[in-house]
């Protein structure tokens, strides 16, 4: 497959990349990977992708209408996230950055929870232990080390669980991510590093971070890296599933590079026209992760139009509910500022509370 993205000295076409479904929706074979998924599983993944895309669009319009402070859209990365998210076992634990709405969906976290951070009512938004999905990490790369530490805890517990951590192409330049590779290699930690190479870190192309394919970073740290077509949900699913199983079985870490594309802006604050050309975006439209699955389901499995329509309907309903949930989301109580700053009593916290109450700030919203 040629993606027309030139890396120094080697064109994409020469880079091995696991693909099971072409952009046209043709099932292709791969020497190492096959899929066991049947029609219903694949349809379920199409449904997942359709729903998160719809919810993501709703969030974007909520932001435009002033209901959210910010939104980080995932358009284009649905297959990467659903493929990875559906490969997880219930007990696996995941560490997201800020764009993993699709993983949150797979972990069963109510969509309105994802939006709490973006509305500015919370820095987290869900119970990370309940959903086995950690709170968002905004400081690029920090969560990679946290995930490796978690995985080392799993190791010490003798549990058969994998830990998966998500970050972007840009994040691979941070010291923390590379230290996470060192630790994972040194301790054979049961962790899967899942990098969504969406070609951009805000305005910077991946080539600013690395002149060779990202998946190769792992080699130098002594564990396998693999590049998968991040717009192919079947391939992402199989590659991730194997890496997670490998981790659970004590085989150590894997770096998965999901080669994909951020179709939208970095966030709603961003203006991508300043740094990239339409033609690039257009080219990637032909590799849409959702469309190719639909084409496959129609052609290969004769899924009827009504089934697709039902999901579109369902997605709209969920989007409407999301909108309602967001609009009715209350502002936090001012006193909540003090609530979990510390686990135990702290004199400066008590003082702050007293101050707020005396000033008459506490008690009401604003």
């Amino acid at each position: 497959m040629a993606i027309g993205f030139e890396l120094k000295g080697e064109s994409m076409s020469e880079i091995p990349l696991v693909q099971l479904l072409t952009p046209e929706g043709e099932r292709v074979s791969h020497p190492d990977y096959d899929t066991s998924l049947g029609r219903d599983d694949i349809f379920a993944m199409w449904r997942d992708m359709t729903i998160i895309r719809r919810l993501c669009n709703e969030a974007t319009s909520l932001q435009r209408q002033g209901q959210l402070a910010l939104w980080a859209p995932l358009q284009g990365q649905e297959a990467a996230q659903i493929g990875a998210g559906r490969a997880l076992a219930p007990n696996d634990f995941t560490f997201p950055s800020y764009r993993e709405h699709g993983i949150a969906w797979c972990r069963g976290i109510p969509p309105e929870n994802w939006l709490r951070m973006f509305r500015g009512v919370h820095h987290g938004g869900w119970d990370p232990q309940k959903y086995r999905h950690s709170v968002p990490t905004i400081v690029i790369g920090n969560q990679a080390l946290n995930a490796v530490g978690y995985a080392m805890g799993v190791q010490r517990d003798g549990a058969e669980e994998a830990t998966m951590v998500f970050f972007g192409d840009g994040a691979t330049s941070e010291g923390d991510v590379n230290e996470a590779f060192v630790w994972a290699g040194s301790f054979d930690a049961p962790v899967v590093f899942f990098v969504q190479n969406n070609q951009w870190a805000i305005s910077e192309p991946t080539i600013r971070q690395t002149k060779i394919p990202l998946y190769r970073r792992a080699e130098g740290f002594g564990f396998p890296g693999i590049r998968v077509d991040g717009n192919d949900v079947l391939a992402v699913y199989e590659v991730t599933r194997r890496a997670l199983a490998h981790a659970r079985e004590g085989g150590g870490p894997t770096l998965i590079e999901a080669f994909t594309y951020r179709m939208g802006a970095h966030t709603t604050s961003d203006d991508p026209t300043r740094y990239r050309i339409d033609a690039e975006v257009e080219a990637w439209k032909h590799r849409d992760p959702v469309e190719r699955v639909k084409a496959y389901l129609v052609r290969q499995h004769q899924v009827p139009a009504a089934s697709f329509d039902d999901v579109t309907e369902e997605a709209n309903t969920l989007a409407a509910k999301l909108r309602d949930d967001v609009l009715s989301m209350p502002n936090p109580e001012p006193l909540s500022i003090f609530e979990h700053a510390y686990a135990d009593v702290h004199p400066l916290i008590e003082e702050g509370k007293r101050d707020m109450v005396e000033l008459g700030i506490a008690g009401g919203g604003h």
């Binding site: 910010l70 305005s203 300043r274 740094y275 502002n331 500022i337």
Partner: protein
């Protein structure tokens, strides 16, 4: 005189510094084509080229660590850290190399680099985008820390910082990026390390800096309506502090309120209060009070107003220092 926003004034100041000295380089994330997320470097890469306006890989220690090497080579790097909360990965390079290499090299190395840091709250942002890390740098010997609060100061202070031979953490109150003001393109208003009496008054001295200056001025307006004359000092230089101006004021008013967004504990506001308690011991007729962000992580933006020093909280402190008796 020209009217412009602070963001534009910084842009013009950077441009002028780059024109005046070919050794001046800019480095940071997204500062090239995008012009920075706040557009402070807008158009500079186009005009000065990719060698002088460098889009860096995504790593802050890398930005500062390579800037150190460039400074050793004789360049004058100006680093942009995208937001306050992302300066910490560079903390080690700043504290262990930037702050100490001039001294370690017996003065042979000039660490004349500038680290630009959009900081503070009041912009409704998500976590890590509203922090006030200036205290960490003020505490670090070997560094200087400054913060402009008007377009005119911004235009001049960035140039003064770039031509200064010590490393400077240049804290930009991002909530004021889009406010317009007059810029005098010919004459700097004052030295880089001089405080400014932003408003004269007789009854109480309010010392503040950065994003809180506007709030303090508003509080002074409100206090005036109640017949209280509040002097507001914009420190401008956070480290070193210009205590001369502050002592003169407190000797006049006898009352001190220090205002800052950063939590009070072991902070710049603590320094101002402690030092003025020492230097103006007999002039003070009330204890020095501090109005700051609370001792918690910066809260979600929907309640940042309740967290930050507000006009009400400042007025309350003014009431207390004036009413102080027992």
């Amino acid at each position: 005189m020209a009217q412009m926003t602070m963001a534009k004034a910084l842009n013009e100041g950077l441009r002028r510094a780059m024109e005046n000295n070919p050794k001046v380089l800019l480095m940071g994330e997204d500062i090239g084509k995008l012009g920075g997320v706040f557009r402070v470097t807008d158009g500079l890469q186009k005009d000065f080229g990719e060698d002088r306006v460098i889009d860096s890989p995504l790593a802050e220690s890398g930005i500062v660590g390579t800037a150190v090497g460039m400074a050793i080579r004789g360049y004058r790097p100006v680093c942009e850290i995208q937001f306050d909360g992302f300066v910490y990965p560079a903390f080690d390079q700043i504290v262990s190399q930037v702050a100490k290499l001039h001294s370690r090299s017996d003065g042979v190395y000039t660490m004349g680099l500038v680290i630009r840091l959009p900081y503070g709250g009041q912009i409704g942002a998500i976590e890590h985008h509203s922090e006030s890390p200036e205290g960490y740098f003020a505490h670090t010997a070997g560094l200087r820390v400054v913060s402009p609060t008007t377009p005119n100061d911004a235009y001049w202070m960035i140039q003064q910082a770039i031509s200064h031979d010590d490393p400077i953490i240049f804290c930009e109150p991002k909530c004021r990026y889009w406010e317009k003001g007059d810029v005098d393109l010919d004459h700097p208003p004052r030295g880089l390390f001089e405080a400014n009496v932003a408003r004269e008054g007789r009854d109480v001295t309010v010392v503040t800096y950065g994003p809180s200056v506007r709030t303090a001025l508003r509080a002074a307006d409100a206090a005036a309506a109640e017949g209280r004359s509040v002097e507001v000092i914009d420190a401008r230089s956070i480290a070193p502090l210009d205590f001369g101006v502050m002592v003169t004021s407190v000797q006049k008013t006898g009352r001190l309120v220090v205002v800052a967004e950063a939590p009070a504990n072991a902070s710049v506001s603590a320094e101002i209060a402690a030092r003025l308690a020492e230097d103006c011991f007999y002039s003070l007729s009330a204890p020095p009070l501090r109005v700051t962000g609370y001792h918690t992580p910066y809260p979600p933006s929907r309640i940042e107003e309740e967290y930050l020093p507000s006009v009400d909280r400042i007025l309350d402190a003014i009431d207390r220092v004036i009413g102080f008796e027992s």
